[in-house]
Amino acid sequence: MSQEQGVATTEIAGNITGQTLNEFLTFQLGSEEYGMDILKVQEIRGYDSITQIANAPEFIKGVVNLRGIIVPIIDMRIKFKLGNAEYDQFTVVIILNVSGRVMGIVVDGVSDVISLDMDQMRATPEFGSVIDTEYIMGLGTVEERMLILIDIEKLMGSTDMGLIDQVVN
């Protein structure tokens, strides 16, 4: 899977124009706008009572009951130090299904679903960022907006998220 994505990234870098690559769900973290592959999204729900997990990193808020499955919740705002981690009725949890695992991420809001053509996507410039550029697939441009396209699968599977036992990696 990651290999496929690798191929996709090189294609973006090569700026192959033409067909629609993918549909992206866009969401906000602080003032920045992000996008991720819509196919990885299972559902979107509100933020409700969460059971804390002992000795977990601060950005792992705990676990919730999603219709009988125990699902960990990660606050992306804390993880990426973007925006204020406040929880109100507008706080949104995106439930993801990546490589067979279900998890939720807390974001400031979900805006829309957009399709991006190849020529709307730019390769990631090299710069220091809170998100390792390794996890950024590219930058998307829609009119005046700029979307940071995250490779959510790679990010969630990474060791610094601590979601998966090291042995699995």
Binding site: A54, R67, G68
Partner: protein
């Protein structure tokens, strides 16, 4: 090979495995002194069916082996030879060889031809013996038949009838299903049975018709065919019919050709006396052989791949076996688990509704509330019945032990009787699979170390034959399985001496129960010699570990010279846990009830500190390390003072510890959910569960908490 044939292979392999298991069970149950004719016939039938199938598929090694078996069995059955226990041993060995051969043909493993030859020789040696007392057993059989219930007697009558009479069978089946090889095999098999006449036979014909004149029973003919021909399409008739019914059958056959797909669920043979049966248009059910009510002795049973020799009086017995065959279905375990999960969800939703409903005005919403009450009852019932799907009787495990005991006892030259009590006790399928190994170890241990040699037993004034008792029963929410023997019992001095030698922390004043637990220590063995049965000190340690992993406990009772009893206590299912919910700060945790000894509210003077850091509490003369749950999980407790909280005394893996919590909330049965399926392992937590209000609560890994407290404080 054509894929068509492979499909039949699968059927054959499966049926043969079942037949072999049946045969073994019958053999083990056979009383050598007064063999039950029913059992002998069952064994014979099983061997014969395997032979028929093997012959059809050209597995000659299996055919030879089963043929030898059959020859000997036939002689036993007819009373020409007397059953001896060596024969049963030989039969069991032969069964093993066939099992290996079957596995070989299946593609997993190789059968050892040498073993087959050895068993064959043994069998033929037995069958060559000419019994001098040929008439003796015949008399015995008669006696037993008279005292046996009427059903058994009648069946015997049937056998004798069918072996003396020659019957003419008309066999009809569609051609399209068979390839050349199968067909020729089939023909040669049938012609071996008697005089075979091809009425319609050839590749161009859509259906083959054969006439077979044989002294075999209808059952045998059916068995030869059933492996290769789809039973729903197979028609076997007996020509000796009255004119009326024969003509009716003809019309039924005509109808049958058209609709082959539908299957007859209920054999008509259930109601042989029912009026009007004969006038029903059987042709709607093509599998049905149009059994006329006035057939003298024989009746074909459709649907169940079996033909039974049946007359009106034996039909009641047949009905019961047929019900057993049709009253169960095979469902994949995932489907069942999914259902259990869904019902679990339903229960939670129902609890949520009930909680919300408790806030509304009962007068205004009277109907709603009564509806909710009903929902509650229905959900509970549903949950119970769904849970019971996964439950299986423990006889699934117990059934393998007679063989284990038999083999091992003869190897060790001991005389041992295995008693089983409570085989019907049910427990979760997952546990059934896991409990088999530990139980085998316990039984082997009892056999080897528990029960003494016959001469020692007689010298001690005990009967030469030792008894091992396997007992299973429910107690509270758990199942208890006991392995008891009337052997020598555990030797306290020997165990203590051995423990001291190994440097284990023991003293002479230890209570018996603690001394006995020493035998579960890794590498602990008092056996002077290491045999291939036991003595290396590995088994018991593994037993203890496996059982703890299942959430169970092991207890030993023993008296020197009288015997030993090892009890294994397990929760009924792996999916449900009895737990005590405790509160720390604003969080709730579940502590598995099996680890809790007691809960108490400490006073300030009970708490002592050791070297300024570690705290211990004095409980009934013992100093136990205190594990403050809020410290382990970095939570803010309601009060920092120990005497404001509650201490829960836990015991795991032989260590005790006192866990400090803020409050005790209540006792629940909780459904265990995995935390690791979507997250990773969390230190101190073994799983999670969903409480009645839909919130997640973590289940504490008590064993880890207790042992970690020891590592820190000791």
């Amino acid at each position: 090979m054509s894929s068509d044939l492979e499909q039949f292979y699968e059927v054959f392999f499966e049926e043969s495995s079942e037949l072999l298991a049946e045969m073994e069970a019958c053999l083990l149950g056979l009383d050598v002194n007064s063999p039950d004719m029913e059992d002998m016939n069952a064994i014979f039938r099983a061997a014969h069916s395997i032979k028929g199938g093997a012959g059809t598929f050209g597995f000659t090694d299996m055919t030879e082996m089963t043929h030898m078996l059959e020859t000997l069995l036939d002689k036993l059955r007819k009373g020409e030879l007397e059953v001896r226990s060596e024969m049963i041993d030989a039969f069991l060995k032969a069964g093993d060889v066939i099992k290996d051969q079957l596995a070989g043909h299946r593609g997993d493993g190789e059968a050892d031809p040498a073993a087959a030859v050895a068993v064959c020789e043994e069998l033929s040696k037995f069958s060559e013996e000419v019994s001098g007392a040929a008439e003796m057993p015949a008399v015995e059989v008669k006696v037993s038949a008279e005292s046996a219930p009427p059903v058994a007697k009648l069946t015997e009558d049937n056998v004798s009838i069918s072996t003396t009479e020659r019957t003419v069978f008309l066999i009809e089946f569609p051609n399209s299903e068979l390839n050349e090889k199968v067909r020729s095999n089939l023909l040669s098999n049938l012609s071996e049975m008697g005089q075979l006449e091809k009425l319609v036979f050839g590749e161009t014909e859509s259906r083959s018709k054969l006439r077979l004149i044989t002294d075999s029973t209808e059952e045998n003919v059916w068995e030869v065919l059933a492996f290769v021909v789809d039973p729903t399409n197979l028609i076997i008739e007996i020509e000796a019919l009255t004119k009326d019914s024969a003509s009716m059958q003809l019309s039924a056959d005509k109808l049958a050709v058209g609709a082959d797909e539908s299957e007859l669920e209920e054999p008509y043979g259930f109601f042989p006396d029912a009026p009007g049966n004969t006038t029903k248009p059987y042709g709607f059910f093509p599998g049905s052989p149009a059994a006329p009510a006035d057939t003298k002795d024989d009746e074909v049973k459709p649907g169940n791949c079996k033909v039974s020799i049946n007359n009106k009086n034996t039909s009641s017995a047949r009905v019961s076996t047929n019900f057993a065959e049709t009253s169960s279905i095979r469902v994949s375990i995932e489907k069942v688990d999914q259902m259990i999960n869904l019902v679990g969800e339903l229960v939670i939703t129902q609890a949520m509704l009930a909680q919300t409903a408790s806030e509304v005005d009962p007068v205004v919403f009277e109907k709603l509330l009564s509806g909710l009450n009903q929902l509650e009852r229905n959900t509970r019932d549903l949950q119970e019945s769904v849970m019971s799907i996964r439950m299986l009787p423990i006889s699934f495990v117990f059934s393998r032990f007679p063989r284990v005991v038999r083999d091992l006892a003869s190897k060790l030259n001991k005389q041992i009787e295995l008693k089983q009590v409570g085989e019907g006790t049910e427990l979760d399928k997952g546990l059934i699979e896991k409990i088999a190994d530990p139980l085998t170890h316990l039984i082997r241990n009892s056999l080897d170390h528990g029960v003494e040699m016959p001469d020692v037993r007689i010298a001690a004034g005990k009967p030469a034959q030792g008894t091992i008792t396997l007992r299973a029963f429910h107690q509270g929410g758990s199942i208890v399985i006991e392995v008891g023997d009337d052997g020598a019992g555990l030797n306290r001095e020997k165990i203590l001496a051995k423990a001291k030698e190994r440097g284990l922390p023991v003293h002479d004043g230890m209570p018996d129960s603690e001394v006995w637990m020493l035998i579960f220590e890794a590498g602990f063995s008092t056996a002077a010699v290491v045999t291939d049965v036991s003595g290396r000190g590995v088994g018991m340690d593994v037993v203890k570990r496996n059982i703890s992993a299942m959430g169970g406990r092991v207890e030993i009772e023993s008296a020197l010279g009288i015997g030993t009893r090892i009890s294994v206590r397990l929760p009924l299912t792996l999916a449900i846990l009895d737990g005590l919910s405790v509160g720390v700060g604003d969080q709730m945790f579940i502590v598995p009830l099996t680890y809790i000894i007691e809960s108490l509210q400490p006073t300030a003077k009970d708490i002592k500190s050791v070297s300024g850091r570690g705290r211990v509490v004095q409980v009934r003369g013992e100093y136990l390390p205190v594990v403050a749950l809020h410290e382990v999980f970095n939570l803010r407790p309601i009060s920092e003072e120990i005497h404001d909280g509650i201490l829960v005394i836990l015991e795991a893996e032989g260590h005790k510890a006192a866990m400090l919590v803020d409050t005790l909330i209540g006792q629940h049965q909780v459904v265990i959910k995995s935390l690791e399926s979507n997250y990773r392992r969390v230190q101190g937590v073994s799983g999670a569960t969903i409480m009645g209000d839909g919130k997640v609560a973590l289940i504490l890994d008590t064993a880890a908490l207790v042992t970690s407290s020891y590592k820190e404080s000791v």
